[in-house]
Symmetry: C2
Subunit: 356 residues, 2 copies
């Protein structure tokens, strides 16, 4: 078994220390952060989920209004919606996942010089501002290419869940780079370097015709246009990954190939982490895949929260031979764990299963 060492004082960031974007809102989650090493600083690009304080019998739903260019609140009659999944409000008897989300997420920076103690920005970094983001921005990933940090995230709106890209050089301002993957798609991670002259990305398109939620791989010459799509891997029949899979940390190069730490959910919506190794020169080829999870939700802060039993990573930092994994726990807080790279790579070598 690959040894993951959690930080003893987890979680390192909890919702109550985050200033809401307005006084009548409450922050219910700070989780699933992208990670950037920016000079001496470790920056977490947190997903901050907030909602109107629930002060009446109606369910108060937040959304970004294109006409007022600000967040507005509508009151829903709770009896007319299915609220069994706390994340969404779907009209009863609808076959679709949602009409509304119960919270709205933006991206906020937390900054640290030791990777453990973070100072949280008072203001959002990337806030909903266009037609694809009216229900918020979720689950960012960050990939540094040259001097530019590229940040991609799921943009949620009545148009669906698509994937947008922005770029920054200073984590103060950013430039919109447009929609890079059509809806519905999530969990896009851009490789932290080129291979065979191309950029590469993993993504997890939704496939309603057959219900598959698998990871595909695509290549690009400019980060804006993506193609040469191939299905890379799906879940298995095991009890930790028989629901779906999605990419996690942007793949990074090791002496044995591109290492990807991904998430998998079982059919009880419990999220674990897995490891897969891709060929250095042709990342569409799987070299090795660890058949078991490398991390499962175990601790109270991972099993008890807004959406329980979730460990979900969007980024990590390589520190000598240690991979520092930042992860969202229970869709609520941010925690950190450490794993020795050799331990993962030798575990992959000894226990591989390359079936996709």
């Amino acid at each position: 078994m690959i040894k993951i060492k959690r930080y003893k004082n987890n979680p390192i960031i909890v919702p109550k220390i985050i200033k809401p974007s307005r006084d009548d809102f409450e922050v219910i989650g700070a989780f699933n952060p992208a990670v950037a090493q920016y000079g001496d600083q470790t920056i977490l690009l947190m997903r901050v989920a907030e909602r109107p304080k629930q002060v009446s019998k109606e369910l108060k739903i937040p959304f970004f209004s294109l006409s007022s260019k600000s967040i507005e609140v509508i009151d829903l009659d709770k009896t007319k919606f299915n609220l069994s999944d706390p994340r969404v409000a779907a009209p009863k008897n609808s076959k679709y996942d949602f009409n509304y989300l119960t919270s709205i997420s933006h991206i906020r920076c937390a900054r640290s010089f030791d990777g453990i103690n973070f100072t949280i920005d008072d203001e959002p970094f990337i806030f909903p501002h266009n037609e694809y983001e009216t229900f918020g921005l979720e689950d960012p990933r960050c990939t540094k290419i040259g001097d530019v940090y590229y940040i991609n995230f799921s943009a949620v709106s009545p148009k669906g869940v698509c994937v947008e890209l922005v770029s920054t050089m200073d984590f103060k301002s950013y430039k919109d780079e447009g929609v890079i993957f059509l809806p519905d798609n999530k969990d896009v991670t851009i490789f932290s370097g080129m291979s065979s002259g191309s950029y590469w990305a993993l993504s997890r398109p939704s496939v309603p015709s057959t219900g598959n939620l698998d990871v595909w791989i695509s290549s690009s010459s400019d980060l804006h246009e993506w193609g040469r799509h191939k299905k890379l891997f799906g879940g298995s029949n095991s009890d930790w990954d028989n629901g779906r899979v999605g990419a996690g940390i942007p793949p990074f190069l090791t002496p044995y190939g591109w290492l990807e730490i991904y998430h998998a959910a079982n059919n009880k919506n419990e999220y674990s982490l897995g490891a897969i190794l891709l060929d250095r020169d042709d990342p569409t080829k799987i070299i090795a895949r660890y058949p078991k999870p490398i991390m499962v939700p175990e601790y109270e802060y991972e099993t008890n929260g807004f959406f329980g039993k979730v460990v979900f990573t969007c980024g990590g930092i390589l520190n000598n031979n240690d991979l520092i994994i930042y992860y969202g726990a229970a869709d609520t807080n941010i925690s950190v764990a450490k794993v020795n790279l050799d331990d993962i790579l030798s575990g992959l070598e000894k226990n591989s299963n390359v079936e996709g």
Copy 2:
């Protein structure tokens, strides 16, 4: 009303004149053809749907086997599948569209010197041959760029419905150009020319989160990688297009902008044709949209077939000022209609509705 003139001897191609790819199969549909003008010839790249002759009480399902590299047949117990949609077999109580298709489609050429009388090739042109095509190839479109004809189509398999591209210069052999749009996506049409230095395409991604089936627009520098995706238009609340929309004929340039003839289905699965005009220099801008259908299924050959009440176009030919629309009727046969371009353009100008 825009005047569409159907050919008096429609349909021009029916399934019974098509040779099946093997003796124990029957052709049940020749429809939804892409169209190419190749020298003096008009070539229809027909979708030919065939199935095993049904000789036993089991439902015989065809699929392309990756191990034998040929079409194989499996027997399904009819009592265990929902067969209410004749096109698919879904396990009872499944929430997914299908586990199997009841027929398998390939692409076959029909060739003509007058655009009406066609000679049908005995052999398929593009036949299932890879992991994305095990349930067949559907609804091709053809766009000539330079001397090369690019053909894209929906590739259907248990991995979902994705969009592949091939190229040909002679309609005898072709080159695989890979998967250009992730699943689930359909009805991709590549513009018949560049605009502002880019190639452009319309597509219709599936969006299970909210159920939208709308047309998006994407651009490309090389036809393989696509990005800068924007939602372009959806259906309306009218009784002809309140179900979904999808692109049809590859958009072509007129003096007023890019003209697109698309299909729309209502919530009774009746398919009509509509017209929309896009800005010459920025095709993400809608100039005009005709609020009514330009063609609805009316004639017996359009209302009675494998899947009734369908007119569905994948291609046309400009002949002086006439647009010759080839279309699939009732998912069964191929018919042809003519419309004067000025009639469409003046109709668009007078009756526009640019709401998307």
